[in-house]
């Protein structure tokens, strides 16, 4: 059981780290287009790891095989690129300022 707990903790911390990095990216990056990268990207692995941790925890330490977490990843993988694409497309059509010299974007 201790092995399982270590595994769960590992994935939770890994996921939290990537989610945090994504948020830091949102804060530090300067213009709209680069900001798109932080949350849509670093979070895929972040959410992925947390989902794996959840599946392991409920499968081994609770009532039995639990796989519906996989669906979260599935839906995220389907929706994230589409929404990112539309946000970027809308921004392009609005001719949103693309920051070149790192003035406030």
């Amino acid at each position: 059981m201790i092995v399982v707990e270590i595994l769960v903790s590992f994935f939770l911390i890994l996921g939290a780290f990537f989610a945090l990095a994504g948020s830091i990216g949102l804060f530090r990056l300067r213009d709209f287009f680069t900001r798109l990268h932080g949350p849509t990207k670093a979070t895929t692995l972040g959410v992925g790891s947390i989902v794996i941790a959840s599946a392991i925890y409920f499968s081994f330490l609770k009532e039995g095989l639990s796989l519906h977490e996989v669906l979260i990843t599935l839906f995220l993988f389907i929706t994230a690129p589409v929404s990112a694409h539309f946000l970027a497309k809308a921004a392009r059509h609005q001719r949103l300022h693309q920051d070149k010299d790192h003035a406030d974007g």
Partner: protein, 166 residues
């Protein structure tokens, strides 16, 4: 897998059954029955929405592409983006729009390519030109435009094109 009148989209039927069982988090007989019913009914009612079935011609290559190339790239590129975001001097980033000329006119290949580009961190597909010949991609850090275009074309587009041409 060929569809027929009763099961027009066999792959979608299987996917829906699996989806239903996962949603309910159970593999009990009753839910398998109910899932099968839904898996047969939903393709019927939405049949007119799917004019043609996507053809995955090289099935093994598709699995290899998805589970080896794609997942590997997602992980590696995630680490890359994290490194870029956390570097002390963020103004060293060179974000840029790059234009990827497309070699294919298959809408399935183009949309999958755009999705793969968006899912692998560091690049987002932003727009496809009206004549469907160029995909405009925004890269978070593009020191060498030619190399980035070449990598997208050789690593993703060529493989996807091969998977969907019979």
């Amino acid at each position: 897998m060929q569809g027929n009148r009763w099961i027009p989209h066999p792959l979608m039927t299987i996917a829906l059954i699996v989806l239903w069982l996962l949603l309910n988090n159970t593999f009990s007989f009753g839910h398998i029955l109910l899932g099968t019913l839904l898996g047969i009914m939903i393709p019927w009612f939405t049949n007119r929405f799917w004019p043609e079935r996507p053809r995955i011609c090289k099935r093994r290559l598709f699995l290899k592409f998805f589970f080896v190339t794609f997942l590997y790239d997602v992980v590696v590129a995630n680490l890359n983006v994290v490194r870029l975001i956390l570097q002390p001097d963020i103004s060293k980033l060179q974000p840029k729009f790059i234009e990827v000329p497309l070699d294919t006119d298959d809408p399935m290949v183009i949309s999958l390519l755009a999705n793969v580009i968006s899912m692998t961190p560091g690049t987002v597909s932003t727009e496809i030109s009206a004549d469907k010949k160029t995909l405009i991609v925004h890269g978070l850090d593009v020191p060498d435009e030619q190399a980035a275009v070449a990598e997208i074309k050789s690593r993703y587009e060529a493989t996807l094109k091969e998977i969907f041409t019979c």
